[in-house]
Each structure stands twice: as C-alpha cells, then as structure tokens.
C-alpha cells in the first residue's frame, strides 16, 4: 500500500491538468465535482495507508520513485511516516471539505473551473511539500504552494486590491525564501546531500563522519526560521497574510489558515534534530512565536473586517505553534496545528457563508443578529468560537493548554513566554467573542433590503462536519491518553522533547487559562452584545486608532522599507543596472547582434559562397589532421 502513496499526489495533480484543459467544457458544477472527487479519493487512500501507524505496526517508510538529478540527493522520493501522514490527512481531509464548500461558494463565478484547477494544484503542491523525503522536494513544494497562493489571492485579478495583495504575498514570501534557500545551500555543503535520511539522522552523521559545530547548526536553523516566518506569517514577515484575505474565502480557509501557513511549523518539526542542537535558535523560534501571538491578537481586537479578524487570529495561533516547536514540544505544536486546522477552517467557512448571505458585506459593524437568519451556521460558529478560545472540552483547549503548560514547565525565562501566551489567550477570548457577538448576536445593524439566508447544502455540510471535528479531535491527545504523542513517536525518534510538568501543575494552569478565557469572553460579551454605534465610528479616529490600523505597520513599512527600497531599486535600476550592468549586457548583446549582422551577408544565398564555407571548414580540419599525422 505504502509504495503507492504517490497516487495521493498524482490524483489532485491529474485533477488540475484535466480541469485546466477540459474545465470550461465540463462547466458548473461538474468541474467542482472533479476537483472534489480527486481530493476526496486522495484522502481515502491516505487514510488507508495511515492505518499501520494507528496500529503501531509501522514506523514509516521511504518510497523511492525515481532519480531526478543524481548526486544532489534531490530524488523524487517520498517519506511516509506519522508526521507526514498527519499533515496529509489534514490537507486532503479539510481540502476535500473545502472543495465541496467551494462548489456552492463559487457558484456563478466566471472563473469557476479555473478556481478548482488552482485549488487542486495547490493540494498537489502542498502534498509534495509534506511528503518529500529531501529538502529538494520540500523546496519544490514550498515554491509551488507560494505560486498557488499568489494565483488564488489574486484570483479576482480585475480588483486592483486583490492583484496588489497577491503581489505583496509573493514578495514578502520571497524574502523568507531567500533565507530558506541559503539554508539549503548550507545543508548541502555540510552534508553533501539534501536527503532527510542523511541530514536528519545522528547515525548517518557518524557513518559519514560529519562534524557539526554549534555555530553552523545555529546558522542553518536560523536561516530555516527565516523561511518559516515568511511562509507561516510570523514577525516580521507577517504583513502579507491579512491582505491575502482578498482571495475567495475558501482559499483563506484552506491555504491561509489550515494548511500552507503551517508549512513553517511542519518544517521546523521535521528538522527537530537540527533545532535540538541549536538551543539559541530554538529560543528565538519560541520568542518569535510568543511575541507574534500577542502582537497579532492585539490587532485582532479592533478589526472590522470579518475575515481580517480571523487572519490576525491565524497569525496569533501560528505564533502558539512556533512557541511550541521552539520550546521543544514538537508534538504539542503539531497537535495545535491539527486542531487549529479544523476550527479555523470552520470559522473561515462560516464567515464565507455570512459574506455570501450578506451580499458581499464584510464589515462586522454592519452585521448583528444573524443568529436568527442563519441558525445552522450560527451553531457551528459557536463551536468554532469555543474551540479557539480554549473552553473545555473543545479542541483548542487541549492543544493550546498543552503548549502553555509545557512552556511553563521549562521555567526560567520561559515564564515570560508563558505569561505572554496567557495574555494572548485572554485577548483571543476578547476578540473572538467580539467577533461572534457583533456578527451573530444582538440587534441587526444591516439595511432592511438585505435578507440574509442560510447557505446551500454543499456549504452547510462542511460546516457541520468541521464543527463535529472541532469538538472531537481534541481528544486525540489528552493528558490522560496522549495517543497523538504515541502516534508521532517514530517521527521524533531520538529527539529530546519537552513534556508536561509533573503533578498538579498542568491542572492548575489549565484552570487558570480557562478562567482567563471565560473572563475575557464575559467582558467582550457584555461590551459588544448590544453595541452598534461604537463600532460604526469611523476607523482611525478614536483612542484605539493605532490598533485599528494594525499599528500602521504597513505605513511604516511603506515609509521605511518600500520607499527607501524603491529609492534603492531606482538607483539600482536606473543608475547601476541601466548604465553599468545593462551597459555591459547591452554591450554584449549589441556585440552579438552586430556580429550576427556582420555574419549575415555570408548567408548570401549563393551556393558558391556556401561551398566556399564548406571547403574552408574541410581544409581547416584537413590541416589539423594532417599535422597530427605528420608531426
């Protein structure tokens, strides 16, 4: 079974090819069904292939397909182990649900089949990323998902803001990719290959006599972290994610919440062996995560756009995951990635249903009271809300509290990170309660000619399924029964992991964080249940204006990075490049062209002249050979 795991990648890839060529002929909704079918089938195959891991019979296998470039270690070879299995199941499972949802959501869009082409291509790329058995394949997937993300953010490219957002995502990600690429080069020069089984194994280092200095490992891991901050929208490279909400909502749910943005977390967990040897890098990862979590949560407090709240919330939750992998709680990090994928996809799809019902209105200041109009959506969103603020026994409770407890257990400076995490939990409860209260509860604040209605079946069904999971998946890894930890054990073999503190501490901590969440939620409930007028105040006028405008980071970036950057690039473009480099290149091109023009008359069309060329060449060779023979 395992040797056929490549089919999991091939199916969505096939879907993308078929939809690209036949999509418009298939029409609606068949194009969507093809896309859904491919991803759904991939999920089923992945689930069957994952059975041995659940039974504890397999520790994972390499599936070698073929060599691409010998000697680089960049073969088409897949790694099917518990870690990649978890990622694959999340990607294909949630991916299939979101495909189904999109059939309803994209109804009537002129780009219907193009949308599913990109979405299938994304799934295939993401699977290449998580299933690759070497950094080469990981990088291929890494770049491909970036491309898909760009294509899908600017899907409605007739909107200038969408096109700009796509570009922003692409450029910011490039910065991270440069770091990642340098890390890969360092890895290659150090290990002589990009294959995981050599780079990530102590035994292989011994066999190959590889000496790893702390400085070198720290450099490699920090560069990997740079790549991770770009893809996973961490400080300072988070700016692209809120703008990425310009894309269709299913894209926000799938790519910018559940899967692609978690690639950085996956990558760090995968390279745990290296991070373990670089305590400084790990501490930086944890700090970046904690600070990002708090920073993004504070911005989310005052956002008015229904999706932007969730976008900042995603950044904040990704911060928790970075915190987890930074403190060495790799399983907790992956666990939070896992639960977050469900409830955040749920929340995004729910807001998509709301946007749909509200005729493309996205300002939660102009919503309210949707509970009555959309009862099913409302119920599912309540589940998602309870899950993300971490109320017992919903999924977010288990995963977030594990991270906080492990951080606390590390002691020392980590108490600060724990406190930041706890404060973030409080803010999370506030902004998510505000979000759901302003959207669904209280009085309606939208115009009377709007008649919101429940979404169609293909959209509601995924909501219900995801809501069910948002309750259930938390039980996969509880302190009583750490099944996931057990499940992932083979993937982190030989890696020192941080664990929950002993005794009553975790219980006290859990009680504290639930208490904090309840307090936050209660405060926000009181404040926002009835409020309408406050929220409708124009943005950027009150005392909260700095937060409302996301600390004006974009402005600052504009002033201090983009403008100087533009000045530099103008200098580079018009002085250095045009005059110096282009001068040289154009000089070469002109020389080549002139040479071409000079040579052209030789091509006169006269046979005698061609014959002369032939004779000249022949004589030249004759002289050479004769001289070799005689001399």
């Amino acid at each position: 079974m395992t040797e056929f795991i490549w089919i999991v990648i091939a199916l969505p890839l096939l879907g993308a090819v078929v939809l690209h060529f036949l999509g418009s002929r298939l029409g609606e909704p068949r194009a969507g069904l093809v896309g859904f079918g491919m991803v759904g089938a991939a999920f089923v195959i992945a689930a069957i292939a994952a059975v041995p891991f659940f039974q504890g019979e397999s520790h994972g296998e390499q599936v070698f397909l073929f060599d691409w470039i010998e000697g680089l270690g960049a073969a088409a070879s897949l790694l099917w182990d518990p870690l990649s299995a978890v990622m694959t199941l999340v990607i294909t499972g949630i991916g299939a649900l979101i495909h189904l949802y999109s059939i309803g959501y994209m109804h009537g869009d002129p780009g219907f089949s193009r949308f599913f082409t990109y979405l299938n291509l994304f799934i295939a790329s993401m699977l290449i990323l998580v299933l690759g058995d070497n950094f080469g394949l990981l990088f291929v997937g890494w770049e491909l998902v970036g491309l898909c993300s760009y294509l899908l953010i600017s899907f409605w490219n007739e909107k200038p803001s969408a096109a700009a957002a796509g570009k922003k995502a692409f450029i910011v990600n490039r910065i991270g990719d440069v770091g990642f690429l340098i890390a890969l080069m360092l890895i290659f020069t150090t290990f002589g290959t990009l294959a995981f089984d050599v780079v990530l194994s102590h035994e292989a280092w011994d066999v190959n006599g590889i000496e790893l200095g702390v400085g070198l490992v720290t450099a490699i891991t920090l560069l990997l972290l740079v790549g991770g901050t770009g893809k996973s929208a961490q400080l300072p490279l988070y700016m692209w994610l809120p703008d990425a909400m310009e894309g269709p909502t299913p894209v926000s749910a799938l790519i910018h919440a559940a899967t692609m943005v978690t690639a950085g977390v996956y990558m760090i967990a995968r390279t745990a062996v290296l991070f373990e040897l670089a305590p400084v890098s790990s501490a930086i990862v944890a700090s970046v995560g904690a600070v990002t979590a708090l920073f993004a949560a504070s911005i989310a407090l005052k956002q008015r756009d229904i999706k932007r709240v969730l976008a900042y919330s995603t950044i904040s939750q990704l911060g928790y995951m970075f915190l987890a992998v930074g403190v060495g709680a790799y399983v907790a990090g992956i666990f939070h990635l896992f639960t977050h994928a469900f409830f955040k996809a749920l929340l995004f799809l729910g807001s998509g249903a709301v946007i749909h019902a509200m005729a493309d209105e996205q300002d939660i200041g102009r919503m309210g009271g949707l509970r009555k109009a959309m009862p099913v959506t409302h119920m599912t969103q309540v589940v998602g809300w309870l899950a993300i603020i971490g109320i017992f026994p919903f999924a977010g409770f288990w995963s977030k509290d594990e991270i906080l407890a492990v951080t606390f257990g590390k002691g020392g400076g980590y108490y600060v990170l724990w406190a930041i995490g706890l404060l973030t939990a409080l803010l999370t409860a506030v902004y998510m309660t505000r979000w759901i209260a302003l959207t669904f509860w209280g009085e309606k604040r939208y115009a009377d000619d709007l008649h919101p209605h429940e979404a169609p079946g293909t959209m509601v069904l995924p909501l219900i399924v995801l809501a069910g999971f948002s309750v259930g998946v938390g039980f996969w890894n509880t302190p009583f029964l750490p099944s996931m930890e057990h499940f992932l054990e083979p993937a982190f073999e030989g890696v020192e992991q941080a664990h929950l503190p002993e005794g009553l501490v975790p219980w006290v901590l859990a009680a504290v964080s639930v208490g904090v969440a309840v307090v936050g939620a209660f405060y926000a409930y009181r404040r926002y249940r009835g409020a309408g007028a406050v929220e409708l105040a124009p943005i950027g006028k009150g005392s909260w204006s700095l937060v409302e405008e996301a600390y004006r980071v974009d402005d600052l970036a504009g002033r201090f990075i983009v403008s100087p950057g533009r000045a530099v690039s103008n200098f580079m473009a018009f002085v250095v490049d045009r005059d110096v480099i282009d001068g040289a290149v154009n000089g070469l091109a002109t020389a080549v062209r002139t040479a071409g023009e000079r040579l052209r008359p030789l091509q006169s069309g006269f046979v005698r002249q061609y014959g002369l060329g032939l004779v000249a060449g022949t004589v030249g060779l004759l002289v050479w050979f004769a001289s070799r023979g005689l001399g």
Partner: protein, 479 residues
C-alpha cells in the same frame, strides 16, 4: 545465426515493403488517401514492432550480419525505434500536405519512408560502404522532399542547393572512406580498430580520412561551418515536413558519427576529439549568434538546430562514455524539433515556406493548445529544468566535463544563456504582445493534435523523470 539475420533487417524490410506496396498500389489503383495512410502507418507500425523485437534479441545476441555489412545490436535497434517514431510523428504533421496534393501525395509519403530506410541503414551499418549507401538513400530522398513544392521558387532553390552542397559533402565523405581504406585496407567498422592495424593508427592518410568523414557527417547534422545550407533548405521546404527532415538527419547522422568514431577510431581520439570540440564550439557560437537576428521562426529554428548540433557534439568529445548522453539529447531534441515545426506547419500552413515571427503574436488567445506546445518546445530547447531539454544538456555537458573539456562546457553554458533570449522572445510574442490586426483562426487536424500532444507529453515526462530513457539509452551502445 540465421535468426539474427532476419531479426536484424526486419524493421528495414517492413518499411521498404511499405514503400513498394504504396507506390505499386498508387500507380495501378489510384486509391483514396485513406489507403495511403493505411499502408504507410501499417508499415511503420510493423517496423516499430520488429525494431522492438530486434532490441530484445540484440540485448543477448549482438553480432554483425550479412557478411559484416549491417550490425545487429542495441544501437541499431534503438536508432530504428526512434527513427520510426519520428517518421510517424512527421507524417502525422505532414498529412494535410499529402492530402492536399492528390496527384503526388503518395510520392511524398514514399519519400518520407525512403528517407527513414536510408537513415535506418545509416545507424545500422557495420561497413563504411553501407554507411555511404544509407547516407545517399536518405540524402537523395531528402533533396526531393525539399523540392516538393514545385511551384515555390524557394522550394526549388532549396532542393538545388541542398543537392549541390549535399553531393559535395557526400563526395568528401566518400573520399574520406577511400583514404581510410587506403590506410587500413578494410571498410569494416569493427575491423578498422583491430589489432592488425595497431602500428598504423597515426598515419596521415588515415587521419585525413577521419577528418573527411567528420566533414561529410558534420554536413548532414548541420554543424558549423558546414551548416550554411540549413536555413535556406529548412525555410524553403514545406513546413509540414521540415521537422522530420531536421530531426531524422540529426538522429542518424549523429548515430553514424558516434559509431564510426567510437568503434573504429577510438585509438585516434586524441586527434579527432579536439577537432570535434572546435566544430562543436563553432556550431554553438554561429548558431546562437545568427539565431538572434532572425525574424522568421523557421530560420530561427534552423540556426538553433546548428547550435544544438554543437551541444550534441559535446557529448562525443570524450568518446564512448558520452554515447548515452548523446542518445538522450538527440532523441529528446528530435521530439522538440518535430513539435516546434509542427506548430509552424499549423500556423503558417503545411505548404508554406514563410513563418514570420509576427504571425505568432497573440497565439495564446487564438489557440491556447498550439501556444502551449510551442512555448514548451522553446523552453525545452532553451534547456529549462523539468523539460527534457534540461536533462539532455545536463548529460552532454557532464560528458564533456568528464572528458576534460571545461572550456567547451563554459562556452556551451554561455551559448545556452544567450539562446534563452531568442527562445523566450517567441514566448513573449505568443503570450504578451498585442495583436495589431485580426489574425486568421487556426484549425488543426486530429493527427497533428495527436502528434503535438505526444511530443509535449514526452518532453515533460522525460524532463520530470529522465531515468527510464536514460536506462534504455545506456543499453543502446554499439557492439
């Protein structure tokens, strides 16, 4: 022994029968064009099957056959397989040309098959005389194909030029063969390198003979400075068959060159290696530089094929170690050529001798399929990763590096980089430039669509996963 005799000649016989039957039936019955198709593709398909049989048999049982005239080995069988595939794809692309000329269409089909026979003889020959015969059978057929459009001045000019210069090259080749005979007393490719001539390896007569053989075959593969006919001939010939003319000559020409140099003259590698490197370098430079200034896609492709001849030759400078790299490059390049000229045929018309680049502006909107295939072929010829062109270049450059020709590889890399310019320019025309005037809609036949899809799929498949083809070519070595 007897078995090998028939298995070794099977593919050639099958295609020859096709020619004979086609011409006889056409003369006596004047059947519908459907019958031409049936006979020609029937013979090609049976030839293909027999070539596979030959491949399987030769793996265990390679030997010279017919008194050391032909060689029954993996090298011959693989060459025949590739040539037959290219001929079939070429015929599919050329088919509208065949059908449009009810009176002479069958002759064109027969000429394509005859060329294929000549080329198969060329790759299978075990004797320099057979090499010459194969060369002439193929060349004379190609001269006539070049002049197929009788009313076109360019086509006539192309045929005459090709014939005059080609005869000259053939004469040079024959003179080289004579000198080799003078130097060694034998024409058998395997025997030339035999122990009895051990003391005669560096005689001037023999070395000059080798030089003349290189000239003759260099002409056929359009290596500089023997390339000047190529742009005129490829432009003048009907677009429908240009791809086949170019691809077929490259495959068989390089195969014959590789077999002769590696099997007969391995002892003289120090003499011909540098000469070949210079010819390769010259081809890359001349082809690339002149391709840049072209405004006609067919001419541009002709010059680019000169440059590619140079790239392919870099695989040979190190002798036998580069043969698999050479095969890989030649085969994948042959597909690219058929694909690119196929698109030219579809856009400019199969009988046309012009294909100004401006005809391709806005093709991305008019025909996404043709635009996609053409762009893919351009990317592959430029050697972009994940196309077969990249894997091919990687292989031949590595072969040259291992042989110690670093300067040649550096030059080849520069030529590839410069080459990007004119390949990407085509893609810019196709997708980015705006049409100024309404261009006619493009209609293509099913056969053409099939042929183009095939080459596109193969180009991507061998680019993503070159291993299967590499495994096959590593077995396609001369006996």
């Amino acid at each position: 022994m007897t078995n090998a005799l028939y298995i070794g000649i099977g593919p050639i016989i099958a295609v020859t029968l096709g020619v004979v039957v086609l011409l006889m039936v056409e003369v006596t019955l004047h059947p519908a064009t459907r019958v031409w198709r049936l006979i020609s593709f029937g013979s090609l398909i049976s030839g293909f099957i027999l070539a596979i049989v030959q491949w399987a048999d030769a793996a265990n049982n390679p030997q010279p056959i017919f008194s050391h005239m032909l060689m029954h080995d993996g090298f011959s069988a693989f060459g025949s397989i590739v040539l037959i595939i290219v001929a079939a794809l070429g015929l599919l692309v050329a088919w509208p040309l065949v059908e449009n000329d009810r009176a002479r269409g069958a002759e064109l089909v027969a000429l394509v098959l005859l060329t294929t026979i000549g080329l198969m003889l060329l790759v299978s020959a075990a004797n320099l005389m057979m090499v010459f015969l194969g060369l002439e059978v193929a060349s004379i057929s190609l001269y006539v194909i070049a002049g197929f459009i009788r009313k076109g001045a360019r086509s006539n000019e192309a045929a005459v030029k090709y014939f005059l210069l080609g005869s000259f090259a053939s004469a040079v080749f024959l003179y080289g063969v004579a000198l080799v005979y003078a130097g060694t007393g034998t024409l058998e490719i395997t025997a030339i390198a035999g122990p009895q001539f051990a003391g005669l390896t560096q005689t001037p007569v023999l070395l000059v003979g080798i030089g003349l053989i290189v000239v003759g075959l260099g002409f056929k593969v359009s290596a500089a400075p023997f390339h000047m006919w190529a742009p005129d001939v490829y432009q003048g010939s009907a677009s429908g068959v240009t791809g086949f003319m170019n691809a077929g000559a490259k495959i068989a020409g390089f195969a014959a060159l590789a077999r002769i140099l590696v099997v007969s003259f391995d002892a003289q590698r120090g003499d011909w290696g540098p000469a070949l490197a210079v010819v390769a370098a010259l081809s890359m430079v001349v082809g690339t530089v002149l391709a840049i200034t072209q405004t006609d896609l067919k001419r541009m492709l002709a010059y680019s094929s000169v440059a590619h001849a140079g790239f392919i030759m870099t695989a040979l400078v190190g002798g036998g170690a580069g043969i698999d790299a050479l095969w890989f490059y030649v085969v994948t390049y042959a597909f690219q050529v058929v694909g690119a000229f196929g698109v030219v045929a579809a856009i400019s018309g199969v009988a046309s001798d012009e294909s100004a680049l401006k005809q391709y502006v806005g093709l991305g909107r008019r025909s996404p399929f043709l635009a996609g295939v053409l762009s893919l072929m351009m990317l592959a010829m430029a050697g972009i990763p994940l196309t077969a062109g990249f894997a091919g270049k990687f292989g031949v450059f590595r072969a040259a590096l291992e042989a110690g020709y670093t300067w040649l590889v550096v030059l080849a890399l520069v030529a590839s980089a410069v080459g990007l310019y004119f390949y990407l320019r085509v893609i810019v025309r196709v997708y980015i430039d705006q049409e100024t005037a309404e261009q006619p809609r493009v209609v293509i036949t099913d056969g053409m669509r099939f042929a183009l899809t095939t080459v596109a799929v193969l180009t991507v498949a061998f680019g993503v996963n070159p291993a299967p083809l590499l495994t096959v070519v590593s077995n396609a070595l001369p006996f």
